[in-house]
Amino acid sequence: MAPTLTIADVERIAALAQLELSDEEKTLFTRQLADILAYAEQVQALDTSGVPATAHVHVGHRAERDDEPRPSLPVSEAVANAPDAATEAGLFRVPRVIG
């Protein structure tokens, strides 16, 4: 059974997802997410006991490579898109973390 969604559920998920929702968005998402989950619920009718999960479809794949240093992005370019950077020091500036 798909659980019934409440505004409180939507607020809880938004907090996990680091989103601030307006009251309209909360109402809208409560209805729409419930609709989508009710539709998605049909997968639960299938018997999948003993069926392995597919997380990706890689077949016989070796992704390792030798651990050799290679050129990487210069710090000045890495911070160039930051909304607030201490470019000289090569740092991203953010608001305080601890009160």
């Binding site: 989103l19 601030e20 997968v43 999948t48 077949v59 608001p95």
Partner: protein, 488 residues
């Protein structure tokens, strides 16, 4: 024939032989864009200076007797979620409205190494989430065949640009049909390669177990040309396959005698628009007359592909999009002195993301959260295995599988925006190729209703793009729809 109507191969041959200059070609397409794009909104950015500069270099190198690459002087547009160093890349999101990548996607580097000329970036649904190119911070793209309708999505700008002769080629990305469905809606070829065939380095990630980059072109041969130029192992993307890359051009022999085309009759029997059904049946007939053998196949779990897809892709998206937090790039909300880090994250994300992106992040967060993970996410991954097995069994009896690309012709702008579930159902025939990792291609197969394009989708075995493209090319030659052009 006007330069604009030429195929990429023709243009390449003309430029290589010195009968036309790369600058002449580039100028013609830039002027076409200036002419029609105000009515289409297919581009988010056109960099004519950069393109002409590249074209001049190619002409100079030819004059100096240098051998040019396989895409010599051919203009191409990139979907705006593919990075090009120094060119703004937004993924059609407010959260990246000022982002200028410090590096290029591997595909962009390989295309330029093949002497293609990048014209600019094309519009799409925000972070490739949508089936209509309406979820864009840059406004919707319009369909060149009927400007009150959508070009499909999410790579609608790329499809519209190629259909409207604004570029002979474009790149898109396909997570659940985002190349093939707009290909169908705009009457052009849209190709999604096998998972692992093409590097995603420099593609802004949406759902990493599903995303693939692929080309739009007017002909199958042109799409094969681009695939050959981009495919293969990339040390910068650990998901690229070591599989050898065949010569896709050489595979297009025109001979499909005895090739078995599987048709999942039960799966395609419901919910398909009448005009689409007629075009699809005629396409099957054409394939049969061209020498292919039609065989019935069963895909018993295909009807679960949409719920599985939306559970898997939203879960992956909620994780991938966690990186947009206002720290290293992108939009940061203006804050007051007392606001803390968490407020900055939350407010920047809420201001920067559009409603569909928020909806998917919410859904993905929910299905991954404690108490629901097993019932939704894990279950979806198990059904994904059942779906893969369906295809493995079907490919014991068939060499390629045929179905309509989309259940409908292009729908009207705004028609489905209020009901996300309706919009998701548009992807019914495309998502399973992504879930199973298989290659798929949409080829124009006629029109429904008032001259609205319809696409035939062909799917191949994993890493067997060659057979799939051979059938698509033979169909295209027999049917001839590729010669049609939109009224714009």
């Amino acid at each position: 024939m006007s330069l604009l109507d030429r195929t990429a191969r023709d243009i390449r041959d003309e430029v290589t032989a010195g009968r036309t200059s790369a600058v002449e070609v580039c100028t013609a397409f830039l002027s076409r864009i200036a002419d029609v794009d105000p009515r289409l909104n297919a581009f988010t950015l056109v960099d004519g200076d950069r393109a002409l500069d590249r074209a001049r270099t190619i002409d100079r190198r030819r004059a100096a007797g240098e051998r040019l690459g396989p895409l010599a002087g051919v203009p191409i547009a990139l979907k705006d979620n593919i990075c090009l160093r120094g060119m703004r890349t937004t993924a059609a999101s407010r959260i990246l409205d000022t982002f200028v990548p410090p590096y290029s996607a591997t595909v962009a580097e390989r295309l330029e190494a093949a002497d293609a000329v990048i014209l600019g970036k094309t519009n799409c649904d925000e972070f490739a989430m949508g089936s209509s190119t309406e979820n864009s911070a840059h406004g919707p793209t319009r369909n060149p065949w009927a400007t009150d309708r959508t070009p499909g999505g999410s790579s609608g700008g790329s499809a519209a640009a190629v259909a409207a002769r604004c570029a002979p080629l474009a790149l898109g990305s396909d997570t659940g049909g985002s190349i093939r469905q707009p290909g169908s809606f705009c009457g052009v070829v849209g190709l999604k390669p096998s998972y692992g065939r093409v590097s995603r380095y420099g593609l802004l990630a949406f759902a990493s177990s599903l995303d693939q980059i692929g080309p739009f072109a007017r002909t199958v041969a042109d799409a094969a040309l681009v695939l050959s130029a981009m495919a293969g192992l990339d040390p910068a993307d650990a998901t690229t396959a070591r599989e050898p890359v065949p010569d896709f051009q050489a595979a297009l022999t025109g001979d499909i005698t005895g090739v078995r085309v599987g048709v999942p009759r039960a799966f395609v029997s419901e919910g398909v628009d009448e005009g689409v059904r007629r075009a699809f049946d005629e396409a099957l007939d054409t394939l049969r007359r061209s020498g292919a053998t039609l065989v019935d196949i069963e895909l018993p779990h295909a009807k679960y592909a949409i719920p599985v897809y939306y559970l898997v892709c939203t879960a992956e998206a909620s994780s991938n999009l966690a990186r947009y937090d206002g720290v290293r790039y992108g939009h940061r909300a203006s804050l007051s002195r007392n606001d803390d880090l968490k407020t900055m994250y939350n407010r920047s994300r809420s201001e920067g993301f559009g409603v569909e992106v928020k909806r998917r992040i919410m859904l993905g967060t929910y299905v991954l959260s404690a108490g629901y993970y097993d019932a939704f996410y894990l279950k979806a991954q198990q059904v994904r295995t059942l779906l893969r097995r369906d295809y493995e069994r079907a490919f014991e009896h068939a060499d390629v599988i045929a179905m309509p690309t989309a259940p409908t012709p292009p729908f009207r702008l705004g028609e489905r925006l209020q009901d996300p579930l309706q919009m998701y159902l548009e992807d019914v025939f495309t998502v399973s190729a992504n879930l199973a990792g298989l290659p798929g291609v949409s080829v124009p197969c006629g029109f429904a209703g008032e001259r609205l394009p319809v696409g035939l989708q062909l799917m191949g075995r994993m890493f067997d793009e060659a057979t799939m493209l051979r059938v698509a090319d033979a169909y295209e030659r027999a049917a001839g729809w590729w010669k049609e052009s939109p009224p714009i």
